[in-house]
């Protein structure tokens, strides 16, 4: 039982990370129907910027807490700028193009960002400075750490904040209007360009936050870390019903737990025929099954033509 509990905790934490990244995907997709493939790369750049800033501040003798906070701020700012630039340079000119076009641009941007990051930070794995004191907890035979608790709380709080933003503010209303019908929204006086740019900037800020969380948790970073993470997070977003903020959160956690339990128990369940080597398959199998039977995701409302 303690093993089961431990696997649930593992899945919950991993899932919260997926959720945090998935929120960024879902924001952009919900408003303009674009899979921003480069979002995973934004997360990666957030992590690497934090390493550079916080790492050098710590080396310069700053207290860890201050350095960490400065790193986080720098990462958020850089990623916001990056998100804005991405939208302005790569996606905005393609807004009326056929659907394949922005998707291919997104793949291209993802490759460009990865290689730029490699040229700046090198090919080697980097260690992320430990920003939080290591506190271990034990509960019913399962171990977890402070940072794991923080990750779960941060992603829940972020989702709450986003929900408030979308449903309680003017910008949120504009976003919802744009998502429903950009043309009509603009007739109603919504500045579409500004709303979409805002979605990108906010999504990228969340990406930076996710990057810092991932970095603090694993204490390791690499220029290729974003791609698979982004893919899984996107799966999570689809699982929960893309465009739906609470859905992205739930989808992320669900996916994390499916993966942990899958890797932990599939060997025993299939008598050793399948093992933890199939861990990466679960996300895709779940994705295909969900899209086959419920194309709008588990918690998404029917969006008609979109799926």
């Amino acid at each position: 039982m303690d093993i089961f509990l431990q696997q649930i905790i593992n899945g919950l934490v991993q899932g919260s990370i997926y959720a945090l990244v998935a929120l960024g995907y879902t924001m952009v997709y919900g408003i303009m129907g674009l899979i921003n493939f480069a979002h995973g790369e934004v997360v990666m750049i957030g992590t690497l910027v934090t390493i550079t800033v916080a790492g050098s501040l710590i080396k310069a003798g700053m207290p860890v807490a201050v350095a960490g906070l400065a790193g986080l701020m720098a990462a958020v700012l850089v990623c916001m700028a990056l998100g804005w630039a991405l939208e302005r340079v790569a996606y905005r000119p393609l807004r009326n193009a056929p659907r394949l076009t922005p998707l291919i641009t997104a793949i291209g941007m993802s490759i460009v960002l990865q290689n730029l990051a490699m040229m700046i930070w090198g090919r080697n794995y980097m260690t992320f400075p430990s920003l939080l004191p290591k506190v271990d907890f034990e509960f019913a035979g399962a171990n977890f750490t402070m940072i794991q608790v923080i990750i779960v709380l941060v992603s829940a709080a972020t989702m709450g904040g986003l929900l408030l933003l979308v449903y309680r503010t003017k910008l949120g209303m504009a976003m919802r209007a744009t998502a429903q019908n950009p043309a009509v929204a603009s007739l109603m006086g919504v500045n579409i360009n500004r709303v979409i740019a805002a979605a990108f900037v906010i999504g990228s800020a969340l990406g930076a936050l996710a990057g810092v969380m991932v970095g603090t948790y694993y204490e390791i970073a690499h220029y290729q870390m974003g791609f698979m993470l982004g893919l899984k997070a996107f799966t999570a977003a689809v699982l929960g019903g893309i465009g739906n903020l609470a859905g992205a959160m739930l989808g992320g956690i669900l996916l994390g737990i499916i993966e942990a339990l899958g890797a932990g128990y599939i060997g025993d369940l299939t008598g050793g025929f399948l093992g933890s080597h199939y861990q990466d398959i679960f996300a895709f199998v779940v994705l295909i099954v969900v899209l086959m039977f419920k194309p709008s995701g588990l918690f998404g409302e029917k969006t008609g033509d979109r799926a």
């Binding site: 394949l100 291919i104 291209g108 490759i111 990865q114 490699m118 398959i281 199998v285 295909i288 799926a307």
Partner: protein
């Protein structure tokens, strides 16, 4: 610039044929390695044309195309290597490879029929990864694919006693292994081009284009979209399977790492950069993306050494950077590709402004 008519004219065909025959001998003066690069270029032409049916004609964005290539490659590897002790002849394996890949295509196609656009892209991407992960892990409990170790000592292509590896004399001309593969690949590529052209101008081809432009309208005028989409997947996959088989025989070694997501993206980029749905464009895209990295490797590296005295930017990363930028820029400024079909260009000009 009516290339279609040019190619159809007798003089055009004669000149093209003469060029294609002479090419491997010209390349061989720079070493057999260049013939080998040429072989890969044609193999990619072949693959890109296969994907063109799915993406270019039917408008279904497939990010897992490499899976079919992998199926073909492993079919050949398993049926013609010491791994299972089987050494079947080419005329038995290639149809099986095509058939299995076709089956895989239908398998992928049927659950995704309802999906469009980016959802389809992400599901096909997942499918490609699933195939790769299975190939990488099916060495236990029963050893089917030999896992990450891959399969070695795969038989080369041979027709009876005529082997494609090693040098042979034909009519007094010495033909090296890569040169023989070149002619085989050119023959296959011409076959695929003919099929592509015939398809494009057939009922089926027009139906695909109708689906690509507007699926609902296509359905409304009585096109069986379900069957036609499946057909597109199946045909594209079969070509992928055949290409995989030849790749396997040419390399003599396959392992799952050759079938990564990046390869899928690469082939897609060939189709998209060249000109989706336009055969000469796709060929251009494939040749460009295969030869360009070589030029970068042998040009940019030494150039940097000569100018700066050291490597500032690794050509390998430069290659990927250029590749990514090319995707972005072409989508921005020439969304129909570098050499788009005349109709497509007209359409874009009409709707774009």
């Amino acid at each position: 610039m009516n290339f279609g008519r040019f190619f159809r004219s007798t003089v055009g065909i004669g000149l093209t044929a003469a060029f294609l025959v002479a090419l491997p001998f010209i390349a061989a003066t720079g070493g057999q390695a260049w013939v080998r690069i040429l072989d890969f270029a044609i193999l990619y032409v072949f693959l890109a044309l296969g994907l063109n049916i799915v993406v270019g004609l039917a408008g279904l964005l497939d990010l897992g195309y490499i899976a079919f290539y992998a199926v073909g490659a492993y079919t050949w590897a398993l049926l013609a290597s010491p791994h299972f002790g089987l050494h079947w002849p080419i005329w038995a394996i290639l149809p099986i490879a095509a058939g299995l890949a076709c089956f895989a295509g239908v398998l992928l196609g049927s659950p995704t029929l309802k999906l469009r656009g980016d959802y389809l892209a992400i599901v096909t991407l997942g499918f490609g990864e699933i195939v790769r992960i299975f190939l990488n892990n099916l060495n236990a409990p029963i050893n089917v694919t030999n896992g990450p170790q891959g399969i070695t000592l795969i038989d080369p292509v041979s027709f009876g006693a005529f082997k494609f590896s090693g040098t042979t004399q034909i009519f007094g001309v010495a033909l090296s292994g890569p040169q023989k593969y070149y002619f085989l690949l050119v023959a296959l590529a011409i076959l695929v081009i003919i099929i592509n052209i015939r398809l494009q101008n057939s009922r089926i081809g027009r139906a695909w284009q109708a689906i690509r432009e507007d699926e609902i309208a296509a359905k409304a005028i009585g096109i069986n979209t379900r069957n036609l989409k499946l057909l597109a997947f199946a045909m594209g996959a079969s070509f992928g399977g055949v290409a995989g088989g030849i790749f396997s025989a040419m390399q003599g070694f396959v392992s799952p790492e050759s079938f990564s997501l990046l390869e899928s993206i690469m082939i897609l980029a060939m189709v998209v950069l060249g000109g989706m749905g336009h055969i000469p464009g796709v060929i251009l895209g494939a040749v460009l993306l295969t030869v360009l990295p070589e030029v970068l490797r042998y040009g940019v590296g030494p150039l940097q050494m000569a100018v700066f005295g050291k490597m500032l930017v690794d050509p390998e990363s430069l290659r990927m950077l250029v590749f990514g930028l090319a995707l972005v820029l072409v989508m921005r400024f020439k969304p129909a590709g570098l050499w788009p079909s005349p109709e497509r260009q007209r359409e874009l000009q009409e709707t774009g402004k």
